[in-house]
Symmetry: C2
Subunit: 159 residues, 2 copies
């Protein structure tokens, strides 16, 4: 990822796409969210979701997976340019996570992230706190998922 000093409000990044299949929906649900509408097509069809639906936590975990892959691509690009690789800091949490539309088997979400807030921290001079507005849009262009994430981002070391 970039140093805190290199980030600007509004910076947007496409993280990539993830397709939810019956197999990966059920595999996640068996381990972490074994509710009938996440495990069985027929139960899904009869539910408010109207089909085999991904766990909301699976939708979030897919965002994380693509985010880490995006960090890795950026680290490789920085290394190729001879720039220092920046390791991201921990996240204190997030706000306003919304599961806006069901994500059904066969749906593909494309995830995006946009810098929405940047704050320096008096108590932790080596970190800045960045907020990101994250979205997942399905193959019909409908917003299905959003949340405001936060992360500590390393500041550029003094030269």
């Amino acid at each position: 990822m970039p140093y805190f000093e290199e980030m600007k409000i509004g910076d947007r990044r496409e993280l990539g796409s993830f397709t939810f299949t019956p197999e990966n929906i059920k595999a996640f649900a068996v381990k972490f969210d074994p509710q009938p509408f996440h495990l069985d097509e027929e139960a899904g069809r009869k539910s408010v979701f109207g089909g085999l639906a991904a766990s909301g936590w699976h939708v979030a975990a897919a965002w994380m997976k693509l985010t880490v892959a995006s960090f890795k691509r950026e680290a490789e690009a920085r290394a190729a340019r001879g720039e220092p690789v920046v390791l991201g800091g921990p996240s204190p949490g997030f706000e306003d996570l919304k599961w806006i539309r069901p994500v059904l088997a066969g749906d593909t979400l494309t995830y995006d992230t946009q810098v929405s807030s940047l704050r320096s921290l008096d108590t932790r001079p080596q970190w800045g706190l960045a907020e990101f507005y994250n979205t997942g849009v399905n193959q019909r262009g409908e917003l299905a998922f959003s949340f405001k994430g936060k992360a500590f981002v390393p500041r550029r070391p003094a030269a």
Copy 2:
């Protein structure tokens, strides 16, 4: 779960405990959050976490797993008492998720949920909207994880 009409603000429920092991921390991280401090003891020790640390999304997924198990126990208890089994509705999302302390290999979190808000919905007379304050406390009694969840809860059908 209970019907909306049976819930009261402050109702508290212990969901159960989950122990984060090197094996389950790494298995989750490989699939969804392959950052070094979630994959490797030495990288974890050198990080701000100070040890092999569970992905925050793993900490949340363990909450979901225990919540579903708690629903199942309650459904069985209701069935045994001859009461109707209530299937929970979808969640529109949640707020203020906080990863307060690292969760390291060997830590056990005990998760609790407490009803914090109950609202009837003019537009959806068959559902109420409940909010829950969820917490995860480690084996030293320290709060490590919290968030405010929301869920649609079925209303008791008219007799």
